[in-house]
């Protein structure tokens, strides 16, 4: 409740102006429409297939209560139902088996007596609970562990290469004067806006002639020379005073040491922004991996999830669970690094 009063407190005045009403209506609407789908997804991902098929749906995930009952000498885990037959008080019975529309049920307290009940007279006993097998099964049986590893590999390697090559190029382009520098800069700015979707056909043939089809390197390499990264880092490096480099040169530092020990530490804020973006970009990449990778064991999480959703069109409980799993890293990045991301975007117009 404290959180609600904090979020709704107005800055000025104690009276409600009509603009306050509009503001809160809009923000409330925004909260539901922007956050609602994700929450709905997470809730749904913990529901059993039977519960997902229910209409009307419940908000929270439930699991059926079971009870251990001795049947013919052995203990068995049986689902529990509330049975309401006419003229009798509702009682909780366990179902032994079902024949047509008649269920054979027993009272857990008196497992010997079989009671025959019409299936329309009973409703399952449920409590809030999570259907964790939605997560366990795909991770175990449908290669999702492998997809996850592929995605982590692609994201990690591509980000590291991006940071190293982009920062080296940005260093050369910001701190040295050489013939052709403006030509290189012009080239980079000119291609800043060429999206991969324009180049996919020839890029495919380049990657194919390099023998990188069906290789994670074929996914990684075309994405790492982002002009955006070079541009962003260069702009930042331009603000580092040249006198620092000269001081380092007087201090007998080699050019490599200047890059490694002076420039890189001082560019850390911009590198962090680029790293965060690179992780999000590479994690989310879809079209290009879809084209390059056709062998299942090489799929990234996004391609795997899409294929999985296509194959298992009705098995929503698995699809939803894997969607949540795919979303988790990005949500973590968002929760912990939101400040840097928003500052980075507002400052550079990067996305």
């Amino acid at each position: 409740m404290k959180a609600i009063t904090f979020l709704t407190r107005r800055r000025g005045g104690d009276t409600w102006h009509w603009t306050d009403v509009v503001t809160f209506a809009w923000l409330g609407f925004g909260l539901i429409i922007m956050f609602g789908p994700a929450i709905w997804l997470v809730m749904s991902s913990f529901k059993s297939p039977a519960q997902l098929a229910e209409f009307p749906p419940t908000i929270l995930p439930y699991v059926s209560e079971t009870v251990e009952v001795p049947v013919k000498g052995t203990m068995k885990e049986l689902p529990l139902y509330t049975v309401t037959t006419e003229g009798e008080a509702p009682r909780e019975l366990a179902e032994v088996r079902r024949v047509g529309i008649i269920a054979n049920m027993v009272d857990p307290a008196d497992p010997e007596t079989v009671i025959k009940v019409n299936i329309n007279d009973r409703t399952p006993v449920r409590r809030v609970g999570l259907a964790l097998e939605n997560y366990a099964k795909p991770l175990r049986d449908f290669n999702f562990g492998l997809y996850l590893w592929n995605s982590v590999f692609v994201t990690g390697v591509a980000t590291i290469i991006t940071l190293i090559t982009n920062s080296m190029a940005a260093f050369a382009l910001s701190k040295y004067d050489f013939r052709g520098r403006n030509a290189v800069l012009l080239l980079i700015v000119a291609t800043l806006m060429i999206p991969i979707s324009v180049n996919i056909v020839p890029l495919y043939s380049v990657v194919s002639s390099l023998g990188l089809l069906n290789s994670l390197w074929g996914v990684i390499l075309p994405t790492v020379a982002t002009p955006t990264g070079v541009f962003l880092l260069r702009q930042y490096m331009l603000t580092i005073p040249d006198e620092l480099l000269e001081a380092a040169r007087m201090d007998k530092a080699s050019e490599w040491q200047i890059y490694w020990r002076i420039i890189l530490p001082l560019t850390a804020p911009a590198l962090a922004v680029l790293a965060i973006f690179s992780v999000v970009w590479r994690w989310n990449d879809f079209l290009w991996p879809l084209i390059v990778l056709s062998r299942k064991e090489l799929f990234t999480l996004q391609v795997g999830l899409n294929t999985f959703a296509g194959e298992l069109n009705v098995q929503w409980h698995f699809i939803l669970a894997m969607t949540v799993a795919t979303m988790i890293p990005v949500v973590l990045v968002f929760v912990f690094l939101q400040r840097y991301i928003t500052a980075g975007i507002a400052g550079t117009g990067l996305k």
């Binding site: 904090f6 979020l7 107005r10 800055r11 509009v22 809009w26 923000l27 925004g30 922007m34 789908p37 709905w40 997804l41 749904s44 209409f55 749906p57 982009n166 080296m168 260093f171 050489f178 980079i188 291609t191 800043l192 806006m193 060429i194 979707s197 324009v198 180049n199 996919i200 056909v201 020839p202 043939s205 380049v206 194919s208 002639s209 390099l210 020379a225 002009p227 080699s254 050019e255 490599w256 040491q257 490694w260 989310n284 879809f286 079209l287 959703a309 699809i319 939803l320 969607t323 795919t326 979303m327 990005v330 949500v331 968002f334 400040r339 991301i341 928003t342 975007i345 507002a346 117009g349």
Partner: protein, 334 residues
């Protein structure tokens, strides 16, 4: 005594990094000794330029070659020159407003769909973004939290976005449940042409609007508060303050944002592809998907045709990009 520096965790962690740098420095100094500073400049530039040339410049060149050569082969030497045949095929129409009269009807369907999509999506999204940014710039608490609420979907992957909404919009989904609560007829959100287009637009707005809210909010926050205080002293009503102060000062930002949104909307593909697969029928077939299908997926695979189509799309993007660069320059001058 000055050398009693305590060993901190940071020092322990940085030791291997420093050691690595020192180790790399040995060949680097040797190389600098041989090639001098120009040699080092090339060393810094080459990795990036190599990758950049290989995967951006070379494909750009091949794209042009592809668009004027025919066949299904990928090797340039296996392809025969066909001149402007692909462009003719793409552009030949009896009536350009009626895709069915065109030789390559799918291209024109995709083109018109894209145009329709771009205009609906960008206009609705920008209005929504401006209103949200204005509200977030108002006198509210916890601005960072609300900004995060609207920004959150921007980071989600297109596949996740597509699947979330497919789940929400399916026949037995939560949207139809809400309609059901109001005793309204259930809607086939994803399988009826009009609704499916609306769904694609809506989902795409949901996924991207936060980005524009963020940029516009930064623009609004850059407007000095004292302007509004001066206006208040002059007794300016809020609506007038919006039209005469906020809008003119936000305008340069807004223009840039609009062009940026246009550029991105033209490339619409992934979340809509996951959401509807481009369907029902061709109602959500857009240019990128057309290129993808002609280039890779379709049985009538034709790289030349796909390249020609992507060059047409690129020319649209180039015009928009030039507009954007021009506007940015104009904005910076202001």
């Amino acid at each position: 005594m000055i050398s009693n520096e305590k060993t901190t965790i940071g020092a322990v962690l940085s030791a291997p990094v420093r050691w690595l740098a020192e180790a790399i420095d040995i060949p680097m100094r040797w190389w600098q000794g041989i090639a001098g500073r120009p040699g080092m400049i090339s060393f810094f530039l080459i990795p990036n330029l190599l990758i950049f040339g290989m995967f951006v410049l070379v494909p750009l060149f091949i794209n042009i070659v592809y668009s004027v050569t025919g066949g299904t082969e990928l090797f340039l030497s296996d392809r025969s020159y066909v001149g402007g045949a692909h462009f003719n095929r793409l552009l030949e129409c009896e009536n350009h407003f009626n895709p069915n009269s065109c030789r390559e009807d799918l291209f024109w369907i995709a083109l018109w769909n894209t145009i329709k999509f771009v205009f609906t999506q960008v206009s609705v999204m920008i209005v929504f973004a401006v209103i949200t940014a204005l509200i977030l710039n108002g006198k509210i608490r916890a601005r960072a939290f609300w900004r995060a609420v609207f920004f959150f979907p921007v980071l989600l992957s297109p596949v996740v976005v597509g699947l979330i909404w497919q789940w929400m919009l399916q026949r037995q989904g939560v949207f139809n449940f809400i309609l059901f609560q109001f005793d309204a007829q259930a809607i086939n959100w994803l399988t009826e042409r009009t609704w499916a287009f609306g769904a694609a637009v809506g989902v795409s707005i949901w996924a991207h609007v936060g980005f524009y809210v963020l940029i516009l909010l930064a623009g609004l926050q850059a407007i000095p508060r004292d302007l509004y205080e001066a206006a208040e002293m002059d007794g300016t009503p809020p609506a007038r303050a919006f039209w005469r102060i906020t809008l003119p000062l936000l305008w340069p930002n807004l223009l840039v944002v609009i062009v940026l949104a246009l550029i991105r909307a033209v490339q619409v593909f992934d979340e809509v592809y996951v959401l509807t697969g481009g369907g029902p029928g061709t109602s959500n077939l857009y240019l990128t998907q057309y290129i993808y299908e002609v280039g890779f997926a379709s049985i009538l695979r034709n790289p030349g045709l796909a390249s020609a189509a992507s060059l047409i799309m690129a020319s649209i993007l180039v015009v928009l990009t030039l507009a954007q660069l021009g506007l940015t320059r104009w904005k910076d001058k202001k």
